[in-house]
């Protein structure tokens, strides 16, 4: 698997969420994702970036444009050094929110992508990796 291009962006303010969405949209366009695929990965990015900011207290995202045996894909890795998630199963449940959201961000991001991985340790932070392939 080859990385065609990789970018890292900070997520510290709500304007950064907008910027991350633009970066992901641009990457998806470069990989000539269909409009539906673009919308899906951008929306997933929006959810995860907001979680990084809101619950993780800010963090970073790495945007990787990948090629695997001729197949193109977009991988996003969100990382923060926030409080972490004590109960991952609960957090993944549709409708669960510890804030005032709809509780559909994590589950939604998972459904919008082909790959979804979440690692979190209470007190250490959270890392979410998603990928969508063409």
């Amino acid at each position: 698997m080859a990385t065609l291009r990789s970018e890292i962006a900070g997520i510290v303010t709500s304007e950064d969420i907008v910027r991350v969405r633009h970066m992901v949209r641009d990457a998806a366009v470069r990989l000539s994702f269909s409009l539906v695929d673009q919308t899906k990965i951008v929306t997933a990015a929006s959810e995860l970036a907001r979680n990084t900011l809101e619950y993780g207290g800010g963090g970073t995202v790495r945007i990787d444009e990948l090629a695997d045996h001729g197949r193109l894909g977009l991988q996003l890795i969100f990382e923060d050094r926030g409080p972490g998630i004590a109960d991952l199963n609960q957090a993944m449940q549709d409708g669960f929110t510890s804030g005032s959201g709809l509780g559909l961000g994590l589950g939604g991001a998972k459904r919008l992508c082909n790959e979804f991985e979440i690692q979190s340790k209470p007190g250490e932070g959270t890392r979410v990796r998603v990928a969508r392939w063409k």
């Binding site: 929306t43 959810e47 589950g107 939604g108």
Partner: protein, 292 residues
């Protein structure tokens, strides 16, 4: 180093009138082309109160720390000057020059009073330079912040302007949303819609999201809240402009829009709205021109 600024503060007190005169003269030259922007009276008043405050601050402090309490009044005067100028379209340099142009009259006054003591003269000139430079930088910084604030405000106003609530028909409002629907903006937009519903007594509101690039769970939540609030005020909402890719994404997110009427286009939504009002659009049958 006690009373480092005693000489200067006394000089300012004694020579205030002369310094002010010369300073205003210099300002007048510098602002020759911009008389329209700040009235002369304004200049005289602010310059006088600045000079006065400057002398007082110098008398009260021994250190050049603008953040200390002795400088608070002068800081406020400077902030007012900077903000006024920023708002009126002055550049930061022009605002800084206002303070720097005080050097000449102050140096002249120092020279007049210390002409026989070259060493003291040099050291007082240095003191004055140091302070005025510091004040000049401070005012530049405030000016810059003032401009940024102004630009932010203008952008905010533009956002509000760019989301008009349109009255399509008696009792039918449309709210075409354009752009990013995050944060502060959504709140403003939704509130203005609800406000319009109340003030026009509308019974149907069409929220068109054709211009919204991303509908994530936060946007969906805002939409759902607005629909619920509108309903409490006696208006039904129709959400239109849900493009196919957005519709698919919403389904994957798991957001339930089933309680809301959704339509692909604003025209479809308008048709439903008319129907609900027992209204119909009909083609007018034109009479054929009478024969010869």
């Amino acid at each position: 180093m006690a009373d480092k600024y005693r000489f200067l503060s006394e000089l300012l007190r004694k020579e205030e009138a002369a310094i002010l005169d010369k300073w205003l003269e210099l300002q007048q030259v510098a602002l020759a082309g911009r008389r329209d922007q700040v009235s002369v009276k304004d200049d005289v008043e602010t310059s006088r109160s600045f000079l006065h405050g400057f002398g007082k601050a110098l008398a009260a402090t021994r250190e050049l720390d603008l953040s200390s309490s002795g400088w608070a009044d002068l800081r406020q005067t400077l902030e007012q000057i900077a903000i006024t100028r920023a708002t009126r379209g002055f550049g930061p340099l022009e605002t800084a020059m206002l303070i720097f142009s005080l050097k000449q009259p102050v140096f002249e006054a120092i020279r007049r009073s210390l002409s026989s003591k070259p060493e003291e003269l040099a050291s007082e000139i240095w003191n004055a330079t140091e302070i005025l430079d510091r004040l000049g930088l401070f005012v530049t910084e405030v000016h810059q912040k003032g401009r940024e604030e102004l630009i932010r405000k203008q952008q905010q106003e533009m956002l509000e302007l760019s989301t008009p609530v349109v009255r399509l028909w008696e009792g039918v409002l449309a709210l075409p949303l354009i752009g990013t629907l995050d944060s502060a903006r959504t709140q403003v937009v939704m509130e203005s819609l609800l406000h319009q519903i109340v003030s026009t007594g509308a019974s149907i509101a069409i929220i068109d999201i054709t211009g919204v690039p991303t509908v994530d769970t936060l946007v969906a939540q805002h939409l759902l809240k607005t629909v619920a609030a509108a309903r409490l005020m006696g208006a039904d909402c129709i959400i239109s402009g849900i493009r196919p890719q957005i519709a698919q994404t919403i389904v994957h997110l798991g957001v339930e829009l089933t309680a809301v009427i959704t339509k692909a286009t604003l025209a479809d939504a308008f048709a439903i709205a008319l129907q609900r009002q027992n209204l119909a659009v009909v083609r007018v049958q034109k009479n054929p021109p009478a024969a010869g």
